[in-house]
């Protein structure tokens, strides 16, 4: 069915179609309409699930952690300070290997208070062991939620599906809502290898020693480091699994084909802009404008940010002359996190002495600062004409200081 709705409703429909069984919800702008919608689905009987109106985000993730440990499909959503308040629990969910799905409706973080969009919230959770997937429009939100459950349950790693607050959450766009039966055929019910059960007791997430240790029957069990190594191994494996799931989704629904990133006009591009989220669609206009002026430019939108598909991204970018990373977040004290990751991905391309593209980094749109197309256009044009910079200096766009 084709409908016109908000991004938050697209996410809620995705959760309903995925038959999430436990939903923990705590209000925070701009996520709130998503979990409100889910409460409506459940109260009206349209959706069968337990809705837990928790008293904090820390508890929201606790509900997801415990219900997932007991074998239920769990979902929550949050933004900004709500996500930061969960931080301890986010790490716990990944370490405990629970396939929770959480929508992060991206918003800047305090202090000072801001309710507007940037990416600092989810970027600050980059190193927690979660899968992070950024989407750019409403169709990708609803499809992304369904794929996220599939992915999480296949690799037993939680997924953050990130989309821009207001720009996507509160805007209305047309999108296709998949048939429930088609989603059921794509996404089987959650069947964990182990769920808490009195018939088959286990003590989960116990204190674990620095070294490996024998169990009561004399079998060697993992130490802390082995458990964490396996998380990393499975995250790396997730890169291939994501491609497989995207392909399966494409077969079922006819949409997909870009599991890691999406490119626009990159085939012959000498200069490629890179960004996360809806900003990359904004940059398509800029690419069209610069192309009209004769610049060979393109834009890459990174979807799968953790695990980072470094090889695929480096392959796609290595042949260009320059890369311009536009970011709505910052690793304070250094540069944009995406920019660092891209440089790091390119590193091995340069060790054989091949020519490396230069990389510029623009920080923009923090706390909802307006991103003007003309500013983007000028910045990108400047990077194309200026070429490699002598220093790694961060560039700010739209700053009025």
């Amino acid at each position: 069915m084709h409908i016109i709705e908000s991004g938050n409703v697209a996410a809620a429909l995705g959760v309903k179609l995925s038959r999430a069984q436990v939903i923990a919800a705590y209000p925070i702008t701009p996520q709130t309409p998503l979990t409100e919608k889910l409460s409506e689905f459940i109260e009206s009987g349209e959706m069968e699930a337990q809705y837990v109106p928790v008293e904090s985000e820390h508890s929201a993730m606790a509900v997801c952690i415990a219900s997932s440990s007991a074998g239920a499909r769990a979902f929550t959503a949050t933004s900004a300070n709500g996500l930061l308040y969960m931080h301890e629990q986010i790490q716990w969910a990944a370490g405990a290997r629970l396939p929770i799905v959480m929508c992060v409706v991206n918003r800047g973080v305090g202090a000072p208070w801001t309710i507007w969009n940037d990416h600092q919230d989810s970027i600050s959770q980059r190193d927690t062991g979660w899968i992070q997937y950024y989407v750019n429009d409403h169709q990708q939100i609803i499809d992304g939620v369904i794929k996220a459950f599939m992915l999480a349950e296949e690799v037993m790693i939680p997924v953050m599906l990130c989309y821009d607050g207001y720009l996507l959450s509160h805007t209305y766009m047309p999108f296709e809502v998949p048939e429930a039966s088609a989603v059921d055929a794509f996404l089987p019910p959650y069947k964990p290898a182990y769920a808490l059960d009195p018939e088959n007791p286990a003590n989960l997430n116990t204190v674990t020693m620095p070294d490996v240790r024998l169990d009561a029957k004399g079998r060697l069990a993992h130490g802390y480091m082995e458990i964490r190594y396996l998380l990393q191994e499975d995250l790396i494996r997730t890169i291939d699994v994501m491609a497989r799931i995207d392909e399966s989704f494409r077969k079922h629904f006819g949409r997909g084909g870009s599991p890691y990133y999406e490119t626009y006009q990159c085939e012959d591009a000498e200069f490629i802009a890179v960004s996360l989220g809806s900003l990359s669609y904004h940059l398509r206009d800029v690419v069209d404008m610069l192309r009209a002026d004769g610049f060979k430019v393109g834009v890459m939108s990174v979807h799968l940010y953790r695990p980072f598909p470094a090889e695929a991204i480096a392959d796609a970018l290595a042949g260009s002359t320059g890369i311009v990373v536009f970011e709505k977040a910052l690793s304070y004290g250094y540069q944009g996190a995406l920019c660092s990751d891209i440089k790091s991905a390119l590193y091995h391309k340069g060790v054989d002495g091949s020519r490396m593209p230069f990389v510029h980094n623009y920080i923009l749109g923090l706390g909802g600062r307006e991103i003007r197309t003309t500013d983007l256009c000028e910045a990108f044009r400047k990077s194309c004409t200026e070429g490699a910079a002598p220093t790694d200096e961060l560039r700010w766009l739209g700053l009025k200081i």
């Binding site: 928790v54 508890s59 415990a66 989960l204 204190v207």
Partner: protein, 306 residues
């Protein structure tokens, strides 16, 4: 519901705690845990935050408990219990009990918000606070429930200046179906209260007084003796709150018939954590206890918590 009191002869023989745990010698938590698990029975899932109980439960991959147990973050015990009850409901397994076991720090301080939230929502589980009156796992620091006057690792020279936080009253104020206080020194009373709690709806709250030899400063032989003194002096009261009515129970109820309390100084003098307490301070506390108990003696059926 049966009103027959359990005796040592009728206590179920099945054990859910394996022999040999990592608790300190003489720890009363081991007793309370062993007996309470008998009352819960096999069809139970436990939730445990970091605490002495985490240590008692053993180091991966060896577990001291035969019941499934979910270790969770410090502040999240009650919310995790909610998560379990929600999942069990969603999966149609509503016959499984969910029981959270947290220390007093994990209950009265960092875990209070989640506990209050779950109580207000009416989620269906039993929350047990085992109250050893301090952060013992991290080396005996003060908690909200450490009593006034007690020396701890971070009240080393003056003792704790503030009063013990009354968490059972806070929980009773939520209007939940059951609040009870117990002591590890009276395991059969504990057993019966846990049994009763398991039959009631919503959040149930049980506070268990847990004498702790290294934290309180007494010889490992004396956990039961110290626990009993707390009750016999009238300082720690055993009671139940049902339908907003509070009634003394167990050994505390018996004190009404006896009409005699052991002087509270005996309790304080049995533990080195109270060695800074002066006679005048102890006298003041004795006066408060006496005032409370005179009311109980006068109207035994109306002994609502003050």
């Amino acid at each position: 519901m049966t009103h027959t009191k359990t005796t040592i002869l009728s206590l179920p023989e099945e054990e859910f705690v394996n022999p040999g745990t990592r608790a300190c010698a003489g720890c009363a938590l081991g007793t309370a845990y062993r007996v309470a698990l008998k009352a819960m029975g096999r069809n139970t899932i436990l939730v445990v935050p970091p605490s002495c109980l985490t240590v008692l439960q053993g180091l991966y991959p060896i577990a001291a408990t035969k019941l499934p147990s979910l270790n969770v973050t410090f502040a999240s015990t009650a919310a995790a219990a909610t998560g379990l009850t929600s999942a069990l409901k969603a999966l149609g397994k509503t016959d499984i009990n969910v029981v959270a076991w947290a220390g007093d720090g994990g209950t009265s301080d960092i875990g209070l918000q989640a506990l209050s939230g779950a109580a207000e929502r009416g989620d269906n589980f039993l929350f047990i606070c085992y109250d050893n009156e301090g952060y013992m796992n991290t080396g005996v620091q003060r908690s909200g429930t450490t009593p006034q006057g007690a020396i701890t690792s971070n009240t080393p020279l003056k003792g704790k200046l503030q009063q013990k936080k009354d968490v059972p009253s806070i929980m009773a104020a939520h209007g939940i179906s059951y609040v009870a206080t117990c002591s590890a020194a009276y395991p059969l009373d504990l057993y019966d209260k846990v049994r009763k709690a398991m039959t009631l709806p919503g959040v149930k709250y049980i506070n268990i007084h847990i004498p702790c030899p290294p934290g309180w400063g007494f010889d490992t032989r004396y956990a039961v003796k110290v626990g009993k003194l707390a009750v016999e002096t009238g300082l720690y009261e055993l009671y139940e709150v049902e339908n907003s009515v509070s009634r003394l129970s167990g050994a505390s109820r018996k004190l009404i018939d006896k009409r005699a309390l052991v002087p509270v100084s005996e309790y304080f003098r049995a533990q080195s954590r109270f060695k800074l307490m002066r006679e005048a301070q102890i006298g003041e506390i004795q006066k408060q206890i006496d005032a409370r108990w005179v009311r109980y003696f006068e109207s035994p059926e109306d002994n609502g918590e003050s």
